[in-house]
């Protein structure tokens, strides 16, 4: 399998699916010259009717995505940074996540949102948020977060064939990460976690950007004789509860690692699942390593201090094991 950068795998999924399905259209701010890199070359290949730069007006763009599905399109809306999801949040929360139920199921909403999330670039508070908790809470929207180029391709292809709205979230600082990517048809189903590392002493449940940090922490812990299992959820809505429960049944210990703020974050939700359905497997408190309830600071060291980096993960594990 060829090794590719994450961003190239995303680009490949877009190319392949747009070739396959002429109803897929892409729009958003600066998608033509591809400010985030992922949509590069689509304009040259598919032209202005399939990919188009928009004005800066997120509130309308999100609602437009819904409207354009009436004409039979599968819309890909690029939101650039996850913080701008807040700017366009009304139509996401009040229209897209509710319209199918409100109309008694009259419509399908094949809309795939792309957005880059997370810190690591000293982009400060307005360009470093992870918006997934707010999206997960809406109920009507799938949310996926790949951690490898292969999963990025496979999850995005699944999203682009789905009749439902989906947020495909890209870790802003990880576009350059390399990995093997299967050529052509490669679909990763929603709601299936990947076992990123096997281990017997503690389970790290994680996703997206935090997976690499977990694997780094696990390697380091391994040297100290602590074997961490790393479960990469890949999709948050739907979520693979079984994979979580199976792993904690094996290890009895859980640390949830996620790059979103703690309060009502993804980590809390996963911990809550464990405390309910996995309760009898647990031998120790469920720990969360995530972003504290603060805005992301600018200065590099200050930013790094609030990210769920390997050091913090290791420390949490050591509270449970050893």
């Amino acid at each position: 399998m060829p090794s590719k950068r994450m961003i190239a795998a995303i680009n490949e999924a877009l190319f392949e699916e747009m070739e396959r399905d002429e109803n897929i259209i892409v729009f958003g701010e600066d998608v033509q010259l591809a400010i985030m890199g992922d949509t590069r070359g689509l304009y040259e290949r598919f032209g202005p009717n399939r990919i188009r730069n928009t004005p800066i007006c997120e509130a309308t763009l999100t609602g437009m995505a819904l409207g354009a599905t009436a004409a039979g399109y599968h819309v890909v809306l690029h939101m650039m940074f996850a913080n701008f999801v807040y700017t366009g949040f009304d139509a996401i929360a009040n229209q897209i996540s509710k319209m199918r139920l409100m109309t008694g199921g009259q419509l399908k909403i094949p809309v795939t949102f792309l957005a880059c999330y997370g810190g690591g670039g000293s982009n400060a508070a307005q360009h470093s948020d992870s918006a997934h908790p707010a999206l997960m809470n809406l109920g009507g929207i799938n949310v996926v977060m790949p951690s490898t180029p292969a999963d990025a391709k496979g999850l995005l292809k699944t999203a682009l064939r789905s009749p439902n709205p989906c947020f495909f979230l890209e870790a802003a600082a990880r576009g350059g990460q390399m990995g093997e990517v299967p050529d052509g048809e490669h679909l990763v189903p929603f709601g299936k976690a990947a076992l990123a590392r096997e281990g017997s002493d503690v389970t790290l449940v994680t996703m997206g950007s935090a997976t690499k940090w977990c694997l780094d922490a696990a390697t380091s812990l391994g040297k100290a004789g602590i074997e961490a299992e790393v479960v990469d959820l890949r999709s948050l809505v739907p979520i693979d509860e079984e994979a979580i429960l199976k792993s904690i049944a094996k290890t009895g210990r859980l640390v949830v690692v996620d790059e979103s703020r703690d309060c009502c974050g993804a980590g809390s939700h996963i911990a809550a699942i464990a405390a309910d359905k996995g309760f009898f497997s647990l031998k120790a408190p469920v720990k969360r390593v995530n972003i504290p309830d603060v805005a992301i600071p600018y200065a590099p060291a200050a930013e790094l201090a609030v990210l769920p980096t390997p050091g913090r993960i290791e420390a949490a594990v050591r509270q449970l094991v050893g």
Binding site: A59, A71, M102, G104, G105, G139
Partner: protein
């Protein structure tokens, strides 16, 4: 839906009258039932504004789209939505057009191009613009009519949607139902400049007497033709008035407060102003219809409304499990 005619004729006129009467009579019934506490949720009536929806939709085709508002019964019925299915919806029944999941504020029938009433003020702008973008890409000559209130015209999505529609030449007709009121606020106290001027920055505009169904029809017809030709969006502002309260529970919510005078309401209800009695007078005065025909029409409408009430009454309660099963569509094979 009312058929498109090259030339106005009696048949078409009667259809306009019939459709306005259907909206009026069915909403009067809703008012009674709401007062008796027999309807769930909030009910926002369109009474007094029927000429706007009916005039506008009379020049649309079934495949054309509309987006509507919280005050959406009139748009739904004018665009050919089924009264029985609408009542069943408001009653919270399984037979409702949205299976009882949406209610009064969300009546929609995608098969008839009705992309939904909307509880978010301004919620229709972007949906209409997106649909217009879709229509433009398909090049199939469809147009979209976006109904919205003068209050909604203060939402920024209004400008955003006009900008995109104008920059990309989308077939969208922005139809402002200017009734001078935003809930309990007199719109002039919260509005800078003239709404029409906001639109003028982007597209051709026309302001018409919104209680004159033929004036609305003519203005929207011109806009629709422009849109179908590929010449882009237009703005039509219809000056009208909401006769009933913002919602049927208004008196209780006002707690004795007032925001308009009884005289104002009475003036707009007068024969020369009310869109329906005025059009009747016009048709009778010009010998287009006979008094007996109007009476027969009135009787017919009452019958239709009675039947719809009976239908909704007899319906089954909504399926309480639907919230779980309907949120996501099943993946196709």
């Amino acid at each position: 839906m009312i058929a498109v005619k090259e030339k106005s004729n009696k048949h078409e006129y009667v259809e306009l009258l019939e459709r306005m009467l259907l909206i009026r009579r069915s909403e009067e019934r809703l008012a009674l039932l709401a007062a008796a506490g027999q309807l769930p949720g909030a009910v926002h009536l369109y009474i007094g504004e029927e000429a706007v929806a009916v005039g506008a939709c009379s020049v649309l085709q079934e495949r054309d789209w509309i987006t509507s508002t919280h005050r959406g019964h009139g748009h739904f019925l004018a665009k050919g939505g089924d009264l029985k299915a609408m009542f069943a919806e408001i009653w919270g029944k399984k037979e409702g057009i949205c299976k009882g999941m949406g209610g009064s504020m969300h009546v929609a029938d995608f098969s008839k191009g009705i992309l939904g009433a909307n509880g978010i003020v301004g919620g229709g702008f972007a949906i209409a613009t997106g649909a217009g973008f879709g229509a433009k890409l398909r090049g199939d000559g469809r147009v979209v009519s976006c109904f919205f209130g003068d209050g909604a015209a203060n939402q920024g999505v209004f400008m955003e949607s006009m900008n995109i529609s104008s920059a990309w030449g989308l077939p969208v007709i922005f139809i402002c139902e200017n009734n001078g009121l935003s809930e309990f606020t007199v719109s002039s106290t919260i509005t800078g400049g003239k709404l029409e001027d906001r639109a003028k920055a982007f597209m051709p505009t026309k302001v018409v007497d919104g209680n004159d169904v033929l004036a609305v029809q003519a203005a929207v017809r011109e806009a629709v033709e422009r849109a179908r030709r590929g010449d882009g969006p237009s703005y039509v502002e219809a000056k009208t008035y909401r006769i009933r309260g913002h919602l049927e529970a208004e008196d209780a919510m006002l707690g004795g407060g007032t925001y308009r005078s009884k005289e104002d309401i009475a003036a707009w209800q007068a024969k020369g102003k009310d869109p329906i009695s005025r059009f009747e007078t016009y048709l009778l005065g010009n010998g287009i219809v006979e008094a007996s025909e109007v009476t027969a029409l009135q009787d017919k409408i009452i019958r239709i409304v009675n039947e719809a009430v009976a239908y909704a009454d007899a319906g089954e309660d909504a399926d309480v499990t639907l919230a779980h099963s309907l949120m996501f569509a099943a993946q196709e094979a």
